[in-house]
């Protein structure tokens, strides 16, 4: 046998799942390879620890067998009343165009929502998808993105760069999230990429992932989006088809367009030093309790650095706004109004979004998203599995990507599609 045992072979060996010749060959390798022996030991230990841990967790699950049985018996015997079917249902089922239009709005809210809610890593500022055609020349050779719009059913990947928009001119990116959707396999994933990941930038020196956009925008160059696309494609070994840079303002525009949001302000906010546009102060006062916020107030609510209680921080408030907007957008009684204003809404949010997607691309993407069952949407974070803390010679604290781990993660997420 040449080379080390693969993860799968090692697992099969441990579980005694190998056919005889393979088993013998694995055994022969293990006799001579201390590294693989150590991996096998580690694997066995982890399996053991995992069993013990899960057993302990299982023991903590509170049981209520009697109550559960009552419900089961009632339903088994057919006494359960089915939930009433919404009167809107037939209408909705047959009006496909309605869904298209709502997805323009819902897709936006939905993506923001997904990113805020299902992202496994640190709290995301607040990204969204997409609009306004902009073609950027590619700064350096790299993997060619596969066009997906001409190929119905082909997978598509969209990299969403989130910026909290406080430094709109600097091009600073606070979060990077890759959304990958495969409509055929009804599968997909959301991968969060740390902004401190120290990546190889084609044609430039190594840099933090969060600074790549800025690099591409330097001077007269306007290749930020393309440069990020090339860089992340190469880092992941996966073609990134589209990129969208989403500023927090676009979300605020969406809030205005839907008539504001209602949020529960957990603790009164008093920020006498909230900055205004002219370098002065514009005191912010929001009393505790249920409040209706318009876009501008929502923006200040999200941005104030006053933290009355630790759990009521900026990340919490931003997430709260996203959920409130999501709730409002998905309220059926608001749908007719939203649909009639879909294009206004779109242009309102598009201003804060820079992307290589057109509106029609965005609609296609939104439709694509509906074809992917969310059960199939996996979430992962590159920072957790595939990067190690490192201090550069210049003293920058960054995360060093681990190519082998990234490859293994991508293989797992794509599950043999490549």
């Amino acid at each position: 046998m040449t080379g080390h045992l693969k993860d799968g072979q090692l697992l099969a060996y441990m579980e005694d799942n190998l056919a005889l010749p393979e088993r013998e060959s694995a055994l022969a390798h293990l006799r001579t390879c201390p590294a693989c022996r150590a991996r096998l030991e580690r694997l066995a230990q982890t399996a053991k620890d995992l069993s013990t841990t899960l057993q302990a967790v299982g023991d903590q699950v509170p049981l209520a067998p009697a109550r559960s049985w009552e419900a089961v018996a009632r339903r088994w015997k057919g006494q359960r009343t089915r939930p009433p079917i919404s009167p809107f249902r037939p209408l909705l089922r047959h009006v496909a165009t309605l869904a298209v239009l709502v997805m323009i709005v819902g897709g936006l809210a939905g993506l923001i929502h997904t990113l805020a809610v299902t992202s496994p890593a640190p709290p995301l500022p607040t990204p969204t998808p997409v609009s306004s055609r902009q073609t950027s020349p590619s700064p350096a050779p790299g993997p060619l993105p596969r066009p997906y719009l001409d190929q119905q059913g082909a997978p598509v990947s969209l990299l969403i760069l989130g910026s909290d928009g406080e430094n709109t001119t600097s091009g600073k990116v606070d979060s990077l999230t890759l959304l990958y959707l495969d409509p055929e396999a009804e599968d997909g994933f959301l991968l969060s990429i740390p902004r401190d990941l120290y990546v190889d930038v084609p044609g430039y020196a190594r840099a933090r992932a969060g600074s790549v956009y800025e690099l591409g925008q330097q001077g007269d160059a306007d290749v930020g989006l393309a440069l990020v696309r090339e860089t992340i494609s190469a880092t992941l070994g996966l073609p990134v088809h589209h990129v969208a840079l989403v500023r927090f303002e676009s979300f605020v525009a969406l809030i205005d367009a839907i008539g504001g949001v209602d949020v529960e302000v957990l603790h009164a906010i008093e920020d006498p030093a909230f900055p205004d546009d002219r370098g002065g102060h514009d005191p912010l006062l929001i009393p505790a309790g249920e409040q209706h916020l318009d876009g501008a107030l929502a923006l200040r609510y999200a941005r104030t650095r006053v933290v009355p209680e630790p759990e009521f921080d900026r990340a919490f408030r931003q997430r709260q706004l996203v959920l409130a907007a999501h709730e409002r957008v998905t309220r059926l009684d608001l749908l007719p109004g939203l649909i009639s204003q879909a294009s206004t809404l779109w242009s309102a949010v598009a201003d804060g979004i820079e992307t290589d997607l057109s509106l029609s691309d965005a609609i296609d993407l939104a439709l694509l998203a509906t074809g992917v069952t969310a059960d199939g949407i996996d979430t992962a974070s590159l920072g957790e599995c595939c990067a190690l803390p490192y201090t550069t010679p210049a003293g920058q604290r960054v995360l060093l990507p681990q190519p082998d781990e990234i490859e293994a993660l991508m293989e797992n997420l794509l599950e043999g599609e490549r």
Partner: protein
């Protein structure tokens, strides 16, 4: 014994069905809780699974799997349905219509409300497990808590046997990686892996 109870339950004997429920409820609920990380959802999935099982008892084949395993396969599938419903709400209009006029504020990434009393190694392993990508995490749970074979996992997860294997294999890899990092951080030698400068 179990087979007798099944025969009786098939004939509509409620007491027999209740005994089956009492015997298997803890294992099914625990598995569902781990897969969903939410007690209420797990209880719902467990109830769904038992109702389905009792309604389809005639389809149970003792030659193919133990009754407990059959239930675990069913509950896993219910859990996937539940997750789909929960996560799709924002995406699908149809789902919105199905759920009525008040889409509740769901949070698919919310914090698990179990395993708060773990200490030491178990706490570290549980924390690391929750950072493993979801599909691999669920595969590890089915394998090491549910005790399912790869073929049974494939059935429960609606995937190929080879996929079930690779999910477990990757789950291990990710878990080991996370645990090593945790150990490194605790011992304070965080920088030791970074010898290969870029």
């Amino acid at each position: 014994m179990t087979q007798d109870l099944i025969e009786h339950a098939l004939a509509g004997d409620e007491a027999a069905a209740q005994k089956l429920h009492a015997t298997h409820y803890p294992a099914v609920l625990r598995l569902a809780t781990m897969l969903l990380q939410d007690l209420q959802d797990a209880e719902d999935a467990t109830q769904d699974a038992f109702v389905y099982a009792f309604q389809h008892l005639a389809q149970y084949d003792p030659e193919r799997s133990a009754f407990a395993t059959w239930l675990k396969i069913i509950v896993t599938s219910r859990c996937r349905d539940l997750q789909r419903r929960r996560r799709m709400r924002w995406l699908s209009l149809q789902e919105l219509a199905d759920t009525g006029l008040e889409p509740e504020d769901e949070a698919p990434g919310h914090r698990p409300d179990i395993a708060l009393e773990l200490v030491g190694m178990k706490q570290i392993v549980w924390k690391a497990l929750n950072q493993v990508p979801r599909k691999s995490r669920q595969a590890l749970i089915l394998r090491y808590f549910g005790g399912l074979s790869y073929a049974e996992m494939a059935q429960a997860l609606g995937c190929a046997v080879s996929t079930a294997k690779s999910r477990v294999s990757y789950g291990h890899r990710a878990l080991i990686r996370l645990l090593e990092r945790e150990a490194g951080a605790e011992l304070g030698y965080q920088g030791c892996h970074t010898g290969d400068s870029p």
